[in-house]
């Protein structure tokens, strides 16, 4: 982990935002895996970020999908700032780059 300051009020909150900036959309268990944080900690951070309007969520089946709030008043500035912060975190970048997000045909070997 590279981030030493917590400009968004806590390490977990800041790191969740960084991961969401890179992933676009995610869910707490995936965020916990990528960030190596407990799921409960990620869930708490996400709830707080939703309350603050930085993150917006939607339900898909039993999953809660979250992303940076597209209606946040300073969304573009936030996105730029988070990308700059994420650029300094090579470990996070590597972990995110290991995730396959593009589709794979059914039955195709992983």
């Amino acid at each position: 982990m590279v981030i030493t300051s917590s400009p968004f009020g806590g390490q977990a909150r800041t790191r969740v935002l960084l991961a969401l900036r890179l992933l676009d959309e995610s869910y707490p268990r995936e965020l916990a895996r990528v960030l190596e944080l407990p799921v409960s900690g990620v869930q708490m951070a996400v709830r707080g970020l939703e309350r603050d309007g930085l993150v917006a969520g939607r339900t898909a089946g039993r999953m809660r999908l979250v992303r940076l709030n597209p209606r946040y008043f300073a969304r573009e500035e936030l996105q730029r700032y988070l990308l700059t912060l994420a650029g300094a975190d090579a470990v996070l970048q590597n972990r995110v780059a290991e995730l396959r997000r593009r589709p794979r045909a059914a039955g195709k070997p992983a």
Partner: protein
């Protein structure tokens, strides 16, 4: 050609490409295999996707690949001696909304096969980044741009048409960061 466990993706692509051409198929190598070749192995794929633009029947395809020792399992051709497998995704040859793709003749040893150009292979990876937020593909696109000649102008114009000018800027920034 006899495949072994040590056969590279390039070896297999060349042999399959030649067999297809000899059987009268116009088939273009696309997808992850091109990314592996142009990134010089920085990205690893075991999947050789050929888009058939013209040619014969499924039986003719079976015969062409069967001659190399491949057996069809559903829609995939597998070989007992190599982990690489061959598939024929449905066409047309396209990258995002662009269907005007001009393949190049890729030289592998003494064999040439039709394949995506480095620029198109880079665009192909970027399409997954633009539309699926797949950062693995962003990394592959950067790996290609670092190791093969790509036209940034072509990529920029296409990115704008795809509505992804902001993500193209991110690609450029990542490319600059990796060059440092």
């Amino acid at each position: 050609m006899k495949f072994t466990r040590r056969s590279s993706l390039r070896d297999v692509a060349a042999a399959v490409g030649r067999a297809l051409r000899e059987a009268g198929f116009d088939a273009v190598l696309t997808g992850g295999a091109c990314a592996t070749i142009y990134s010089r192995g920085a990205y690893v794929s075991h999947d050789l996707d050929f888009i058939v633009r013209s040619g014969g029947s499924r039986a003719a395809l079976d015969a062409a690949l069967g001659g190399l020792g491949f057996k069809r399992v559903h829609d995939r051709y597998v070989h007992p001696a190599t982990t690489f497998y061959v598939e024929f995704p449905r066409g047309p040859l396209s990258i995002g909304n662009d269907t005007n793709i001009r393949p190049v003749e890729l030289k592998i040893g003494k064999i040439t096969i039709p394949a995506l150009s480095p620029t198109d292979s880079c665009r192909d990876r970027l399409a997954a980044f633009y539309h699926w937020s797949d950062r693995q593909s962003l990394r592959s696109a950067v790996d290609i741009a670092l190791r093969a000649p790509v036209s940034m102008t072509t990529i920029r114009r296409w990115s704008e048409r795809e509505g992804a000018a902001d993500k193209f800027a991110e690609f450029q920034a990542e490319l600059a960061r990796r060059r440092r």
